[in-house]
């Protein structure tokens, strides 16, 4: 007899196939209806800032950045520099610092009851380690050397917090409804994302034991 996991897989494959086919049918219908009515793409003109203004803005930004570095470097913190935009139902978090990419760090502390169930390598630049407990609650720890990291976090049930774990600045999002945390930080020039049903204490322990 087929296991529940396999059955779920079969259901998802069937459903995905149905959705994909409906989308293809929709596209194909329009291709049939509009065959022959083709036009060339003329991109719209984009308004550009004058070069002088760009140079002034860039100079001011560089000065501000230099001042920020000078002030923050004395603290000896692993800073987390990201742009957070709050949309109607999610936060857009975009890492704004360049990551040079050190070696991936070993995860030495895992909250009680969890065990590793999956390790996914994303080429040379990424690693996702997945843990699961007996209640089938998952904990994902992602390490990335990729620049331009972007993360979308639902904000309907989460609240954003800024904190420090040991020598690491951490931005974390607490989901009280689903009892979870998403923590984002940079350590050893690696971008980290922790996502799971853990407490703030457990989050700090994980970060301090990397």
């Amino acid at each position: 007899m087929m296991s529940v996991g396999n059955k779920a897989n079969e259901v998802l494959k069937t459903y995905a196939g149905g959705l994909a086919q409906l989308r293809i049918n929709y596209v194909n219908n329009y291709l049939l209806l509009t065959a022959g009515a083709e036009e060339s793409f003329v991109p719209r003109k984009v308004h550009r800032l004058p070069v002088k203004k760009i140079v002034i803005i860039a100079a001011v930004l560089v000065m501000l950045f230099a001042m920020f570095i000078a002030v923050s470097s004395g603290a000896g913190l692993n800073l987390f520099k990201a742009k957070v935009t709050e949309e109607s139902n999610h936060y857009d978090v975009e890492l704004t610092e360049e990551i040079e990419g050190g070696s991936f760090l070993a995860i030495k502390y895992i909250p009680k009851g969890y065990e590793c169930c999956d390790v996914e390598r994303i080429g040379e630049v990424g690693l996702i380690v997945t843990y699961v407990n007996k209640d089938e609650e998952y904990l994902f720890i992602q390490e990335s050397k990729d620049n331009g990291v972007y993360q979308s976090i639902d904000n309907e049930t989460t609240t954003k917090h800024d904190g420090v774990a040991g020598d690491t600045e951490v931005q974390y999002y607490v989901d009280k409804v689903n009892n979870g945390i998403i923590a984002l930080f940079v350590k050893n020039d690696i971008y980290f994302s922790i996502n799971g049903h853990i407490s703030e204490e457990e989050m700090n322990e994980i970060i301090n034991n990397l």
Binding site: L12, L19, R23, E38, F41, R44, I128, Y150, Q151
Partner: protein, 178 residues
């Protein structure tokens, strides 16, 4: 050499526009209900497609058609969200129930033969969940590839996949389909 590469890229995006313009405009209008916004969305979508041309191996393939559909739909939903802060476009029934890939719980139950619990679970999935399922289970894309297409992190996609599987397993167990 550089000019040649530039010409090839321009030719490809021009082909996308020539072939799919009407579908892209219609789908945008279906969501945005405004001709000017729909045209703006087609332009936005073409820019995004142009930045990801590597995913368009063959313009005729079903994967490319799904990719274009998803980009246009999500771009329109994002545009709507930004323009009307109070409207949760991704969850607004007036919008998502009119989308062409809508499969009702009734159809899931009667035509696909799924149990009521499974049909309900599937019909309650968000638009983003549906996109993930199509790319993962119909086209076998990796979490990273899906993340890049949908502007999400690979771990975010993985987390959503696991949650969907878990919800579905619960529905199956509830029904005793083991």
């Amino acid at each position: 050499m550089f000019n040649m590469i530039l010409q090839i890229i321009e030719a490809t995006i021009d082909n996308v526009y020539r072939k799919y313009k009407h579908m892209m405009t219609e789908l945008s209008y279906l969501i945005l209900k405004d001709s000017q916004l729909a045209e703006d969305n087609v332009q936005e979508s073409l820019i995004r497609i142009n930045n990801n041309l590597s995913k368009m191996d063959d313009l005729e393939s079903s994967r490319s058609k799904n990719y274009i559909y998803t980009i246009v739909k999500n771009s329109a939903l994002n545009m709507l969200e930004k323009r009307k802060d109070d409207l949760r476009a991704y969850n607004n029934p007036d919008i998502v129930e009119n989308l062409p890939d809508r499969i009702t719980s009734y159809e899931l139950h009667d035509e696909y033969g799924f149990s009521e619990e499974v049909s309900l679970t599937l019909s309650e999935l968000s638009e983003k969940d549906k996109d993930i399922i199509v790319f993962r289970y119909a086209y076998g894309l990796s979490f990273k590839e899906i993340g890049k297409t949908l502007d999400m992190s690979a771990s975010g996609v993985l987390a959503r996949c696991k949650r969907i599987e878990k919800d579905l397993r619960k529905s199956l167990v509830m029904r005793g389909e083991q």
